[in-house]
Amino acid sequence: MRLYPRDTQAFRGHFTYQNSSEAIRRFPFPFPEDDYIYSVNIEPHVLPGPEGSVYEHMLDIDEHYLSETAERDMVLREDPDRCLAMPHMRQACWDLLEFVMTHYARDYPQHFSFERQGDDCVWVNHPLNIRQSFRMGEEGTLPTSPLELIGRQVQGDIALLDQRDGDLFMDAGVITSPADWSLAFDAGMSFKQWHGPVPLAHEMGIFDRALKYLCAIQVGGPVRRLNWTMTIHPRMDSSPETFAHWGKDRTTITPDNVGQDVYLRVELQTLVRMPRSHALFFGIRTYLISLEDLVTHRAWARRLHRVLKGLPEELADYKGLSRYRETVVDWLAHYDRQPEPQY
């Protein structure tokens, strides 16, 4: 698999982001049915998944690896608070570093290697041209904190959740491409607190059930789910902090630009128990696809049309789609006119 190009304009400025046909083929389309309803849609992350799919490995990387790590670097330079860890998460951060290095090296040996003799380690990241010797667990042997060091080399966002009193707390993470949320704001919050803004699901008891399930995840039993929203332009960093840059884009959608400018944004979320600290790794790998690319897959186009059309108003508001939903639905309707295939 290729991990290039490295393009600093991919997710900002001129928005040069493009998906190859291979990336479109493996896009994790998130809708199993024509109606979108909330559910605890969590399933075991059984490995290895189907070859070439986003589920093949524990941590998926793809052709946007270099562009995304470059974007991550820019965001972290502009706003160092996108990476933070509370003092009690120290062990969890080392767990994370070891977890990423082990899985990247095992699953993508052509790009990464991780050699270890006792606590003496050597990590090599060929795509980013990094070679790092260090002693596991000794901060002084790394140029930055273990969280920042590995966080900058991961494709996708990471949060580390501390588990205590039957609840989960957002106590560490590196979040540079949030879908309208903020680590600095959510830091220290409990599971239900950071899900506070989500409409409808609280009343359905979704979060009670999900929390119990997540707290019971054990070492060796990772799980995953898909989440989705939409974005104008392939903008990864849609954080509340940068709202001034992207909020107004929602008003620019017309029947002429909807295909190029509106993106379906899907998060492959993985939850993995960290072995030493018992913290829960919460990985958010984000995939973007323009509607133009999406409709090359007719079944996806038809289904997305029906999902968006029937989406409850509260959900459309929460996901920030209200201003342009109608334009998207009208545009997609064209792909839903053919009669259903008869069997």
């Binding site: 062990q91 054990q218 072995p275």
Partner: protein, 312 residues
Amino acid sequence: MSGHIVVKVSAIDTISPVVKQFTLEPCDRALPRFSAGSHVVVSMPGQDRWYRNAYSLLGDPADTSCYRIAVRRQEASRGGSRFMHEDVAVGDHLSISPPSNFFLPRWNARHHILIAGGIGITPFLAYLHEFERQGASHELHYSFREDTTGGFSLELQQRLGSSLHCYQGARPDFHRILADRPLGTHVYICGPQGMIDAVTRAAKDMDWADTRVHYEAFAAPESGTPFVARLAASGIDVTVDDETSLLEALEAQGVEVPNLCRGGVCGQCKTAVAEGRVEHRDAFLDDEERKRHDCIMPCVSRSLTDTLVLDL
């Protein structure tokens, strides 16, 4: 969930007349890393059925070249601890579950008070390794009888010095231990139910918030009245005698129910109940769920009615 791990018993050490420590080495694959407070479930082929008991890992979590567990021989043994003491020898193979943890240290605590009774010392032996490595402030109150688990006390004295408080054959004064503690102090109890009750009562008397008090009871399910579990799908009746848990009785019939802790805390074995009333003994369900009598944690809970119809 990854499957069972086969390990080889590489050493058996006598800690006291009734406690043996087993060192378990990997056979075909490296042992998973674990967090302090984790346990494994050991499966033992008894004469007429399998025994499955949960034992805390007491070794250093940084060292996964082997696992260590300690088994106290229970006088009223249901079979498992007797099997470990009498039938397991160095060189034998055992099947264990991957580690799971329902008794974690609170990493955000400023000071940790550990209170152990007898064999309840085992999870704390792993805690101490982490506390020492991280320089976390801690103290241990250890109540034991010399002929039972006193064998660990010598090692502990060397490691802990003045932060070890031993109570040989006596009950500590829990009110005194908990008095005048700063808010960042957390207390952890592992021991017999009577000790857990006494410490939690003392903590309540002194207005400690529940979130600062943590405990783990010995996981063995308590006995109860026999009953019949009827499996709705097949119509099969499974008899659950007074000493066997519903989960064990189901497993003996070849009915596998997903499970992790075998102690009523993890919720993995939750099973739907179609008819009958449940004697809930778990710590997982909330009061509303209990009242409905429509589900059961078969690892610890039993039936109030002669027959319990399960959606299995």
